[in-house]
Amino acid sequence: MLQFVIRRFGQSIVLVLIVTIITFFLMNLAPGGPSSMMRMDATEAEREAIAEQLGLNDPVIVRYGSWLINAFQGDLGLSLSSGQPVLDRIVERFPHTFNLAIWTVFFSVIIGIVLGIISAKNRNTWKDHLINFGSVIGLSVPSFWLAIMFILLFSVNLQWLPSSLVTGDSIWDTIKMYIMPVLILSTATLPTIVRFTRSSMLEVVSQNYVRTARAKGLKERTVVYSHALRNALIPVISIIGVLIPRMLSGTVIVESVFGWPGMGRLIVEAAQARDYNLVMGVTVVVTILVVLSNFIVDIIYSKVDPRVKNIG
């Protein structure tokens, strides 16, 4: 276990490094510069002065080097647009995205598995077809469009749900606030989980050990929900690890549409303002989040499947 953690930690550092290199260089390839520099009323001399002050006149590789050294010491620098420390801005935004992500994972895993089982148990009936149709729609309709349609329907016309983050008093207000963003964000994960659970379940029920379980005279419920499901979930768990990054990138769109003050929107704002430090900071935090969630998925995986015990 310890060995696994150490190996995983090493791999993660390399991964984070690669991600920061790519982001840093791509960011600097984009035309323009920090918004403070690009103000309409700034004179050429002022621009030069700001660039000099921000150290933007150094070669990219030197700037990356100094960013990296600072970052390793826990200093992600100051935001180029607001002047606040990058870390402060991230800490302020992080909980919103984290809550959104956690609820989305919970929702799509539980509902996804339940729908997948229903679909498999009613193979080729209207229930199965309906769930399949819904999955295809969810996967193929762009989430920004769906989000706008939801707002139009539930916020503007029906006035059931708030269209953006509003701080309410009751728990119900908070739940209402989450419903639409979680639903939209789930379209990135839920359909895949449903389809994986369905196909995995169908594969597992024809396995020999399911036949053995029936031959023991066990109740059909035990056969399906204990013997078959436990095995069917193994591939589903591994796909969840793949879906988490996909979902996190979905927050960029969902947070923008719903005016959600999370990291997804922060990175859009930062990129538009060419706030190099802020983009780098958010990228690092999101990458670490992905690495951590995949680590947790692997631990769960090894708990469910005893054949991979050597990992966890």
Partner: protein, 329 residues
């Protein structure tokens, strides 16, 4: 002696894209208490289907019983509900499967898989079930039983897994054990051990065994009676002595000649020419005639009935001819 199991005119059908396929057709045989009956035939002859339909497990796998009776202690299993069958499965009738590698659930410990079967049929505490499970594992010849109880299937060898399967099957003190190719996936030394174990257990707890195999050599070691199946039908049945000494069906004869012998090494191993026909494209007349060296015009035109002859049965028009030619073993 009173019969324990009487299979009468059993037919089983499968639903397929090409319509209904009759996997076994009008199969009848009996099993007495304490007797070992071997069902022998090539892959696709309907042996496994027969065993699964006795357990009524086929309904979960797209198959259905199209006709006939399965009398177990004079009660017809075919008319029972699945709920009633659940009380019989793993209790009065147990089954072990061909692939010990895949027949155990990979994510549960051996102990759990044994205990759940015990607790399903017997009103015992967890502790009593645990003790009973340990006792069963010792009975099937495993050592380090407390360790084995906590192990997962992938930590055991094939032979050990098959022993665990047998232990699971014995949990309810079955009167009938169906063993579906229990040794096919195992190597030869383990095969002998498992067959000996089955023979021992049969004596110890006085159960009947239906052993399904494609290997006449295996049948010779354990069988009291042999039922030979071909393309979903019984072609011959009799005692092990009758079958081995005087096979009356050309297919049985072919199977016997296919047993490798130690003494006769100069010739190529005999094989029956051709392959078993597909069930949705059966030949006219006798199902075996395209592969039969005794085939006559009559065999091409009409299917031979199962003829009774001195306590044995054979479905061949020319069995007297077959009988004349002795098999060298």
């Amino acid at each position: 002696m009173k019969e324990l199991l009487q299979v009468k005119n059993l037919s089983v059908e499968f639903q397929s894209d090409a319509g209904k396929i009759r996997a076994i057709d009008d199969v009848s045989f009996n099993v007495k208490p304490g007797e070992t009956v071997c069902i022998v035939g090539e892959s696709g002859s309907g042996k496994s289907v027969t065993s699964l339909s006795v357990m009524r497990l086929l309904e979960y796998e797209n198959g259905s019983i199209a006709g006939g009776e399965v009398l177990f202690e004079n009660e017809d299993l075919v008319t029972k509900s699945q709920e009633e069958m659940r009380k019989i499965r793993g209790n009065d009738i147990s089954i072990i499967f061909q692939e010990p590698m895949t027949a155990l659930n990979p994510v549960f410990t051996i102990g759990r898989q044994l205990i759940e079967g015990i607790q399903q049929h017997q009103d015992v505490s967890k502790k009593e079930a645990w003790d009973r499970a340990c006792e069963l594992l010792r009975l099937v010849g495993l050592n380090d039983v407390p360790v084995r109880m906590k192990q997962y299937p992938h930590e055991l060898s094939g032979g050990m897994r098959q022993r665990v399967m047998i232990a699971i099957a014995l949990a309810g003190n079955p009167k009938l054990l169906i063993a579906d190719e229990p040794t096919t996936a195992l190597d030869v030394t383990i095969e002998t051990q498992i067959l000996n174990l089955l023979n021992e257990l049969k004596e110890k707890i006085n159960m009947s065994i239906i052993l399904i195999t494609h290997d006449m050599g295996v049948a010779a070691e354990v069988a009291d009676k042999i039922v030979v199946m071909y393309a979903g039908k019984i072609v011959e049945q009799g005692t092990v002595y009758q079958i081995f000494d005087e096979p009356t069906h050309p297919y049985t004869k072919g199977l016997l000649q296919s047993i490798p012998s130690d003494t006769d090494k100069k010739d190529r191993l005999y094989s029956i020419k051709g392959t078993i026909p597909s069930l949705n494209d059966l030949p006219q007349g006798c199902r075996f005639h395209p592969r039969c060296e005794f085939a006559t015009d009559k065999c091409l035109q009409s299917e031979p009935p199962l003829l009774q002859e001195n306590d044995r049965e054979v479905a061949c028009w020319n069995f007297k001819e077959v009988l004349k030619e002795k098999v060298k073993l």
